[in-house]
């Protein structure tokens, strides 16, 4: 059996995922031994779009050219893995996704599109799965080394990676942190994927949601809770959207469709609780 071919491709983002991979130490050498790396822009020249066993993606899609490249990678790769929240959910640059007004915002920052961006053709930022099928996701901002090694090991061996599905709160309790949400701070722990080791909570900093929306989340309940704690709908939506990307846009859309979510007190059933 020949070596597996892998390729790492970078779109719009901070390239944090590549940096984490570069920091994998001895395991990186093992990865190099076991595979043929066809693309890794931060580490090598001569990167190519070619037949791949595994394609690893970072960054969100913000130009027509990236969209084309992404589709090409998909057509060449047996398995595609999205790494980091930009590739997985859209990232911070997708904060305003679905709100409309992208053209206007673009013009304000960059000026007239036609004059500046002829070759790239800018788009509103979207996650990779808005354009192609993604097989596995490694969330994080940036991803966690252990979760990357776990995932790549499984994918190389033909099995599915298994990452934490629970939210940040679980690890937060393992680390015995006092709950900030109970103290009235707008912690997004319950809505955010675990795996970060509750890093910020260990420093008493409320979770901002940088690992992206959890697999299962109860957005209406936390929304209501924060309203009860005195936050405005604008503040809450801004917080939820900052790292929430496309999945959060969907959740918020549903909430807004239900009547009166901006009402200050949420209705509660009779019966006491």
């Amino acid at each position: 059996m020949g070596k597996k071919k892998i390729g790492i491709y970078s779109f719009s983002g901070c390239s944090g995922e590549q940096l984490v991979i570069l920091e994998c130490g001895a395991e990186l050498f093992n990865l190099c031994d076991l595979t043929e790396i066809k693309s890794f822009p931060m580490a090598q020249s001569n990167n190519e779009y070619t037949l791949l066993d595994i394609g690893l993606l970072e960054g969100s899609i913000t130009t027509e050219r990236q969209k084309r490249e992404l589709k090409e990678i998909r057509s060449h790769a047996k398995i595609l893995v999205a790494m980091g929240i930009c590739a997985c959910f859209g990232g911070i640059q997708s904060m305003k996704l679905g709100e409309g007004g992208w053209k206007k915002r673009f013009q304000k920052v960059y000026g007239d599109e036609d004059k500046l961006f002829k070759t790239m053709k800018p788009l509103e930022s979207k996650p990779c799965n808005a354009f192609v099928k993604i097989d596995y996701y490694i969330p994080g901002c940036p991803i966690d080394k252990k979760q990357f090694l776990h995932s790549i090991t499984h994918v190389l061996n033909g099995s599915s990676p298994y990452l934490y599905q629970f939210s940040v709160c679980t690890e937060c309790k393992w680390k015995e942190n006092d709950c900030l949400l109970l103290r009235g701070l707008p912690c997004l722990g319950p809505l955010t994927r675990g795996g970060c080791g509750a890093a910020c909570l260990c420093y008493n900093i409320p979770c901002v949601g940088c690992w992206g929306p959890a697999e299962v989340l109860n957005v209406p309940s936390e929304y209501r809770l924060l309203i009860e704690k005195g936050y405005t709908t604008e503040e809450i939506q801004r917080k939820f959207r900052k790292f929430g990307g496309a999945p959060m846009v969907e959740c918020l859309k549903k909430i807004m469709k239900q009547s009166n979510y901006s009402a200050t007190k949420a209705p509660r059933l009779k019966g006491g609780i």
Partner: protein, 344 residues
């Protein structure tokens, strides 16, 4: 059981001497909460019993650890690395929690990781605590404890009554026999009764456990489950902090070469959607309402082979849930909001 008494001021000296039986652990303050920690600096140790964020189960059934490491075809468990510990400051409710875990992990499903840690951990219990908000041990009958510890210190203000609960406890006493006195008199008993009475009057919350198991049985279709299911954030926090929640997940972490790797074990939670998901995509308890109903059935009706409710009344779920779902609020809901907050 042998009962002795000890002067208050001698506790520190005794605990110093107990270090020959293992690392000394006990409650310390961390920000606004208390946690069990290794005691190197004695001034950090809190002598009165406290509701620590995680119960003592964290030392016997840790949140996450490696079960084994493998290399090629051989493997080595991590059992021999488990340290000996002496844990001071464990309140009666937490010891009752351990007794329930003992039933599960020592009797019915012998678990070498649990058993080894349990055997290498000396439990030094303490009461009488001043009940804080949400303490429900009196309702649950877990405010006194007869077994499950090595030594137990009843704090009677001027002195401790010391109950010797195991031969290890006896050995610990024997290291400093000069600190203990076995002449128990009427005066000691009177003081014991007085302190107990004083403590009993301080409980502010109660649950009537003579009826709640039956109410649970009758509440299978109660709207309460839907209601809390809709509110629960599925954060798992209540489960992590509950002394009698015991579920865990096991995951293999092979290295890239595939030749070496480790097997990890970490706490799981039956409120998670994934918990009741099986191969093929079916979910036995697909709604959060169903999963919460299971959780509360275990806590308030019956759990495991003992068939008794597993809530030991520690009050942690009350302190922990961001959306106010806990044994008290659920009971209040099941009783149609009529449950009075008051003395037992």
């Amino acid at each position: 059981m042998r009962v002795l008494w000890m002067k208050k001021e001698d506790l520190r000296e005794f605990l110093e001497s107990s270090k020959q039986f293992g690392e000394l652990w006990g409650p310390v303050q961390k920000g606004e909460v208390y946690v069990y920690d290794k005691i190197d600096d004695f001034s950090r140790l809190i002598l009165e019993p406290k509701r620590t964020l995680l119960p003592v189960k964290k030392l016997i059934h840790p949140p996450e650890f490696n079960i084994l490491r493998y290399e090629g075809e051989t493997y080595k468990t991590e059992l021999e690395n488990i340290p000996r510990r002496v844990v001071y400051g464990v309140p009666p409710c937490d010891i009752h929690g351990l007794l329930i875990l003992d039933d599960l992990f020592r009797r019915y499903y012998p678990d070498p990781y649990y058993i080894t840690r349990r055997e290498r951990t000396a439990i030094l219990g303490v009461s009488f605590c001043t009940p804080t908000e949400g303490c429900l041990c009196k309702s649950m009958g877990t405010d006194v404890v007869q077994e499950g510890f090595d030594l137990f210190f009843s704090d009677l203000k001027d002195f401790y009554l010391v109950w010797v609960g195991s031969s290890l406890g006896d050995d610990m006493v024997k290291v400093r026999p000069d600190l203990f006195n076995n002449n128990i008199t009427r005066k000691h008993l009177d003081k014991f009764m007085e302190c107990k009475k004083e403590r009993d009057e301080k409980f502010t919350k109660s649950i009537d456990m003579t009826v709640i198991p039956d109410i649970m049985e009758l509440s299978y279709d109660s709207p309460v489950w839907e209601e809390i299911g809709e509110r629960c954030l599925e954060c798992g926090a209540c489960t992590m902090v509950c002394p009698t929640c015991n579920c865990y997940n096991v995951v293999d972490e092979p290295s890239i070469s595939g030749f070496t790797g480790e097997r990890r074990r970490y706490w799981d939670c039956c409120i998670f959607t994934e918990y009741s998901l099986v191969a093929g995509g079916d979910n036995f308890r697909a709604t959060r309402a169903d999963r919460l109903k299971l959780w509360y059935t275990h806590k308030l009706k019956s759990f495991g082979y003992s068939g008794k409710p597993a809530c030991v009344g520690c009050g942690r779920c009350i302190d922990t849930c961001p959306v106010d779902i806990n044994v008290l609020s659920v009971v209040r809901g099941l009783l149609g909001g009529k449950e009075k907050e008051g003395k037992s």
